[in-house]
């Protein structure tokens, strides 16, 4: 065996995404706080933005990543971090433009000088990619991945199909089973494979906005290893099966109880519900996350997400209440400008 197997390095990428990263960070903060290596942050009143405790720092960094990457131009008034509740555009660090149609959702997996990777969760998105052969530009949508160098193309996610059309240049489309090259003017429609059956689902899948049980009314703990369940949830999210992810997260929140990971599960559930177009359920999940760990690593982000989700749900009063609480607790927080904008836009 003389040939090095370094190509395996690139093919064996870990199942690691921004939510995994945030979840593990939350666990690290909890463990360090338990050991008293790092004190837990406490939200403060206005003027106390000097807080430099680790938990707040974690939340700030989570926020910086989730909200500034990609940056939204112009400043998003009401959009969830990756969702377009109105048509909007994102500008990536290399100058590439991403135009989201109403209801479209995109999240950034990576945005660096050597590579950009986006995940399109819903809707129609037009990508105008600045030519640069030295970096990779990858868009994943359900099971389909689109790799480009410099081009303009559109990806549209429908119920059972993914549509890729090229306005200019050339892209490579991979659906997991085959790789095809599309040139200017060509379009490709790919059907999604049937979903894998949900393993021993104890309750039916939720297709409408689900009802989250209020605090203190948890049903009986289900079972299982939380780490394994988190992995299943991540896998479901990766394959675009948000209903299964939501179901798994709901089971997790029931079984975890007061475990520190419960806050992560609620936070992730909020993101999944938002991606499914259930902003009220998302807001409730973010509220629950924050109530479980008000000084935790995800608290600041959860509060900002709560405000955005209530606004998306049309509940102005709750949106303003959450945004105002955010501004008083984190006056120099990473979402402060957006929260000020939300309060201003909602009350004007």
């Amino acid at each position: 065996m003389t040939d090095p197997l370094t190509h395996l390095r690139d093919r064996l990428e870990p199942p690691w995404c921004e939510l995994t990263e945030a979840r593990v960070l939350n666990r690290i903060q909890s463990e360090l706080a338990r050991e008293d290596l790092v004190p837990q942050a406490r939200p403060t009143r206005a003027g106390r933005g000097r807080v430099a405790l680790l938990a707040t720092a974690a939340a700030a960094c989570v926020g910086l990543y989730l909200w500034r990457h990609p940056r939204v131009e112009p400043a998003p008034a009401a959009a969830a971090p990756v969702a377009a509740v109105a048509s909007s555009s994102l500008k990536l660090t290399d100058g590439s433009q991403v135009q989201l149609a109403l209801g479209a959702q995109v999240t950034t997996v990576r945005d660096g000088a050597d590579g950009i990777e986006l995940r399109q969760l819903a809707g129609r998105v037009r990508y105008e990619v600045v030519p640069n052969p030295r970096r990779t530009f990858l868009v994943r949508a359900n099971e389909v991945s689109v790799r480009v160098i410099g081009t303009i193309f559109v990806v549209e996610l429908c119920a059972d199909t993914t549509l890729v059309s090229v306005e200019r240049g050339r892209v490579q489309v991979n659906d997991g089973a085959r790789q095809l090259s599309l040139a200017t003017g060509e379009r490709l429609e790919l059907s999604r494979p049937p979903r894998e059956p949900v393993r021993s689902a104890p309750t039916p899948l939720v297709s409408m906005a689900p009802v989250i049980p209020p605090p203190g009314i948890d049903t009986a703990p289900a079972r299982l290893d939380p780490a394994a369940e988190f992995r299943e949830v991540d896998a479901a999210r990766r394959r675009g099966d948000l209903a299964a992810a939501s179901e798994g997260l709901r089971r997790l929140t029931r079984s975890l109880g007061a475990d520190p990971r419960s806050a992560s599960a609620w936070f992730t559930l909020g993101r999944v519900e938002a991606a499914q177009g259930h902003p009220a359920a998302a807001a409730q999940a973010f509220e629950r996350c924050r109530s479980l760990q008000p000084a935790g690593a995800l608290a600041e982000d959860a509060l900002a997400e709560t405000a955005s989700a209530w606004r998306a749900a049309g509940d102005r009063a709750r949106a303003v209440e959450a945004a105002t609480l955010y501004l008083s607790s984190y006056p120099s927080g990473s979402h402060a400008e957006r929260m000020r904008h939300l309060v201003g836009a909602t009350t004007n």
């Binding site: 064996l12 990428e13 870990p14 960070l25 290596l37 960094c61």
Partner: protein, 187 residues
């Protein structure tokens, strides 16, 4: 360690503090700095850990343990600009411990129940499945240096620093592992 494409912080590179600056600030009690280090290196550490293990069952736990251990021993980092290899050293130590524990459990299970160890749970990569299946029979002392050399592309000198053994020992272990893997793949 070879520099691989990795997660980059949101801050523009020109204004982003160096690892050394972040370490200095973290040591001085700036908790944001430690989080920034985590953000910068977690994905890379996760990648190396994942490929060393060949599966993801305990990936999150190991990344967590690595960074908690790093927070505990930040004062022991000698070269403040070498955070990434230092983190990988810690991760390798934890992976080694886990592999050794699993190997003992597998040997015991084989003795008691005469059942083979479970196959590695990898993505659908036939080539990797074969390699990791062969690797599962090796001790961590052989397996880890071989993976670092052949898959991660690290030099013998780098591996010797990562696992805390001499270059000649590493060279011998990689060679022995290669021999065993080749034999296993031929069978």
């Amino acid at each position: 360690m070879p520099v691989r494409p990795s997660f980059r912080p949101a801050t523009p590179e020109a204004t982003a503090p160096s690892d050394g600056q972040l370490v200095a600030r973290a040591r001085a009690g700036d908790s944001r700095a430690f989080t920034a280090l985590y953000r910068r290196h977690a994905r890379y550490v996760a990648g190396v850990t994942y490929r060393l293990l060949g599966e993801a069952t305990e990936l999150e736990d190991l990344v967590q343990e690595t960074f908690v251990a790093a927070a505990r021993s930040l004062d022991q980092l000698r070269d403040e600009e070498s955070v990434r290899p230092w983190l990988v050293t810690i991760a390798v130590r934890h992976v080694h411990r886990l592999m050794a524990s699993r190997r003992r459990a597998n040997l015991l299970a084989q003795l008691m129940l005469r059942t083979p160890p479970p196959p590695p749970a990898l993505p659908d990569l036939a080539e990797a499945q074969g390699v990791y299946s062969a690797l599962s029979e090796l001790s961590p002392e052989l397996r880890i240096p071989w993976l670092l050399a052949r898959v991660e592309g690290s030099s013998l000198q780098e591996i010797s620093e990562l696992v805390g053994a001499s270059v000649s020992t590493i060279k011998r272990r990689v060679s022995r592992a290669e021999e065993l893997i080749a034999r296993r793949l031929r069978d």
